[in-house]
């Protein structure tokens, strides 16, 4: 194990955002997620992709769960644990319609549904749950170090 791996193996950092369902907060989240990804060890391009995926998940909450209402509550937990980044988003808006998640065909000129494809392409695991306490989106990505 290299010195850098020894360092990141014990890395554990959690950042929580509690915010209104307003797009104006998204740049703050993007800056943090991008830096977390780089701290774990991803390069610039991968860090950008992870940032985009989480930005898309939050945008979906604002657009679809709260229908653009600015007074919804959105909680985002980001956890860097070893070589993995884990995210959880909770909201109390309208539950997601499973039939509409990734319903768009890729590579076409249809306008909607791009975000969910980005999330699934970028992250290793993705799940959506509607619970009595609200909606929960979870996603994770593990860093693959060269052997």
């Amino acid at each position: 194990m290299s010195a850098s791996e020894a360092t990141t193996a014990h890395l554990s950092l959690e950042v929580t955002f509690v915010m209104g369902s307003q797009p104006r907060y998204l740049p703050i989240v993007r800056a943090t997620v991008g830096q977390l990804a780089e701290i774990v060890g991803w390069g610039e391009g991968d860090a950008r992709a992870i940032t985009l995926a989480i930005d898309e998940a939050l945008a979906n909450v604002i657009r679809h769960a709260y229908h653009g209402r600015p007074d919804g509550r959105v909680e985002l937990e980001c956890r860097a644990a070893g070589d993995e980044l884990q995210f959880q988003i909770r909201d109390q808006g309208e539950p997601p319609d499973p039939s509409r998640i990734c319903a768009r065909a890729v590579g076409c000129d249809q306008i909607g549904g791009l975000g969910t494809h980005i999330i699934r392409d970028v992250m290793d695991t993705v799940s959506y749950q509607a619970t009595p306490e609200g909606n929960r989106f979870t996603a994770a990505k593990r860093l693959r170090r060269p052997a």
């Binding site: 993007r30 391009g45 992709a49 898309e56 890729v106 791009l114 980005i118």
Partner: protein, 109 residues
Amino acid sequence: MTITVRQSPAARIVDLEGEIDLGTSPKLRRTLFDQLKETPKLALNLQALRYIDSSGIATLIEVLKDAKNLGKEFVLFGMTPAVRDVFRLTHVNRIFLIFETEEDAIARA
């Protein structure tokens, strides 16, 4: 996000600077649709664009469709690696006419 519009002999050019996301894409949409009404050739400069999300990509697709319906041209140029990654992730590279430089875009436009 800052949007600047200028006119070249061959096309109307829209320069973007900053980030396009859910909050800023409506402004971009209004600007591009307004400009498209006034020119047969619209070119979008992405050189100073640091970030674009799927709402920005969806806006560009809408404008492209409108341009095609009106028999007009809508081209992109100056794509940074960050923006190029999003086009790749959304699989829309082939939908647009994308050029490296303004000169190339105008010559084709």
